[in-house]
């Protein structure tokens, strides 16, 4: 015998409500991490705050389309990076043709010639670069490079997750990441070690 319709319906609604609340709790528990990525993707704290709020508004509206058991942090960041593009913060769609980046060792070599080979093994050496210089250098990267560097080196996403978030092939993430890291080092070398 099937139970009376209204009772089944009430149970269905209650169960859905529990799922929604659980989703919201889990999403909110990630807010610090989401903010951290947003903060390095956009120029100002205010923009980052706005972007995180828009992200959560959209996430809460479309919570039903999240598949439980998959990576919620990546799902949220995908919304965030899309919103960031929509808002036109990401001006260029393709990085401008740039002079070939220096080699991976470029910054290390500059530091070594300024402070000596042994200095490279001391953690203090990177502290010669101020945090402000790093923040500034990151903010000046071409947006697509910045996204890759921020997601992988700051957000700790795997290449695979970053590829899903940005909706590009994994090889594209790797190439943007490598070029982005090199460009970052070149900027640091220019700014901090003239």
């Amino acid at each position: 015998m099937s139970e009376p319709e209204p009772a089944a319906e009430a149970r269905r609604i209650a169960s859905r409500e529990r799922d929604r609340v659980r989703f919201e709790e889990e999403a909110l528990a990630l807010a610090d991490q989401v903010y951290r990525v947003a903060r390095r993707l956009v120029g100002s704290r205010e923009e980052a705050e706005d972007l995180v709020q828009e992200t959560y508004a959209r996430a809460f509206r479309s919570w039903d389309s999240f598949t439980p058991g998959t990576n919620l942090r990546a799902w949220l960041l995908r919304i965030l990076t899309n919103l960031n593009v929509d808002r036109g913060r990401r001006v260029q769609r393709t990085p401008p043709t740039q002079p070939l980046e220096e080699t991976d060792y470029y910054l290390a070599n500059k530091v070594a010639s300024a402070a000596g080979e042994e200095a490279l093994e001391q953690d203090v050496v990177v502290e010669r670069l101020s945090q402000d210089a790093v923040v500034k250098a990151l903010s000046e990267l071409p947006p697509q490079f910045r996204e890759a560097v921020v997601l992988v080196d700051i957000g700790d996403f795997t290449y695979q997750d970053a590829a899903q978030i940005l909706d590009v092939p994994i090889g594209t993430v790797m190439s943007r990441l490598h070029r982005g890291r090199r460009a970052l080092k070149r900027k640091l070398a220019e700014e901090a070690l003239p």
Binding site: D32, E49, A57, V152, I154
Partner: protein, 79 residues
């Protein structure tokens, strides 16, 4: 192979730090790093630089943002 081994190491180093090398490449990098001061120092430098870049983002949400996010709860497009 006629290539400069330090150039080869430089090419592997970022992926070495990312832990995405194949076993064979990883062994190649390990062997070279163990024997080469020049590359080992650069490895140490790159490693500290990664940590340092990550530190620039160790910023907690501004106070008040969580409350604003909490207010957004209950939005549900399908309800």
């Amino acid at each position: 192979m006629t290539r400069d081994p330090c150039e080869r190491c430089e090419e592997l180093l970022q992926d070495y730090l990312d832990r995405t090398l194949t076993d064979q490449e990883w062994a190649e990098a390990e062997v070279h790093l163990a024997a080469c001061d020049y590359c080992r120092r650069r490895y140490r430098f790159e490693e500290s630089l990664r940590r340092y870049v990550r530190l620039t983002a160790e910023e907690r949400m501004p106070p008040g943002l969580m409350a604003k996010l909490q207010e957004l709860r209950g939005l549900d497009a399908t309800a």
